[in-house]
């Protein structure tokens, strides 16, 4: 019988990167992206998330969606740590353009430049943009 290469034992772990580029409410993209992240994490894949462009608004503190009748899923980003999703990156340029600082965000993130994001993308197997 052929021997199974060691790296396949217990299934292949791929490095997934989710790129969130849209504002949280108004379209379903942001919420669906988060759903996919949670599913991927439940299957023990390696996950990192990038917030850029209007996507940085997804993790703003103190969101209140009661007046627009949508779910305030920004709270769910705070649960990601328990799903072992700990690599959250925000693009510096997008934050600066919108006057947002790290204190305005509801989860701990790493702020990196557009160039650094480019390099990070090269290290991932799967990149999904929402």
């Amino acid at each position: 019988m052929e021997e199974i290469p060691e790296e396949y034992e217990g299934g292949i772990v791929k490095k997934f990167m989710y790129v969130n580029r849209r504002a949280p409410h108004g379209t379903i993209y942001a919420q669906e992206s988060l759903e996919v992240v949670l599913v991927g994490a439940a299957f023990d894949q390696e996950v990192s998330i990038v917030f850029m462009d209007d996507g940085v608004y997804q993790i703003l503190k103190d969101q209140d969606t009661s007046a627009i009748g949508t779910k305030n899923f920004s709270k769910t980003f705070r649960a990601l740590e328990m799903y072992d999703v700990e690599k959250l990156y925000v693009e510096r340029e997008s934050m600066q353009a919108r006057g947002i600082s790290e204190d305005d965000l509801n989860v701990p993130v790493e702020v990196i430049t557009s160039e650094e994001i480019g390099r990070l993308m090269e290290q991932h197997d799967v990149i999904l943009s929402f």
Binding site: E35, L38, V39, A41, A42, F43, K71, N72, F73, K75, T76, R78, A79, M82, Y83
Partner: protein
């Protein structure tokens, strides 16, 4: 699909999860448990109440692995393990307990 509790009709999805989270009451859990031939003890309620708090805080029904870990943190190691939770909820601790707690089906559970 729907269930009837105290003369009030609650819509459920095809797997029995109630659709409107704010329509939940402890009677919902009692009713669902009875249908499953399950007697709800204090230990069951501890998990159900934990899940409701969890959902309130994070707006998500935790996957079983996360639930087990989180229960361990809050209620101690002797409760934060699969064996204990499966004894209470043999249909799958996350799926069954979330249904009783009036939450959606956990994300990532198939």
């Amino acid at each position: 699909m729907s269930i009837q509790i105290n003369g009030k009709v609650l819509e459920t999805d095809e797997e029995g999860y109630i659709q409107a989270l704010d329509e939940w009451s402890p009677e919902v859990a009692e009713y669902m448990a009875k249908e499953d031939d399950c007697d709800l003890t204090e230990n069951h309620w501890e998990v159900i109440n934990f899940l409701r708090d969890y959902y309130d805080e994070y707006q998500v029904a935790p996957a079983v692995r996360v639930l087990t870990k989180a229960i361990g943190k809050r209620l101690g190691k002797d409760k934060g393990n699969s064996k204990y939770l499966y004894q209470l909820f043999p249909y799958g601790p996350a799926k069954q307990a979330c249904r009783y707690a009036g939450l959606p089906k956990p994300t990532g559970c198939v």
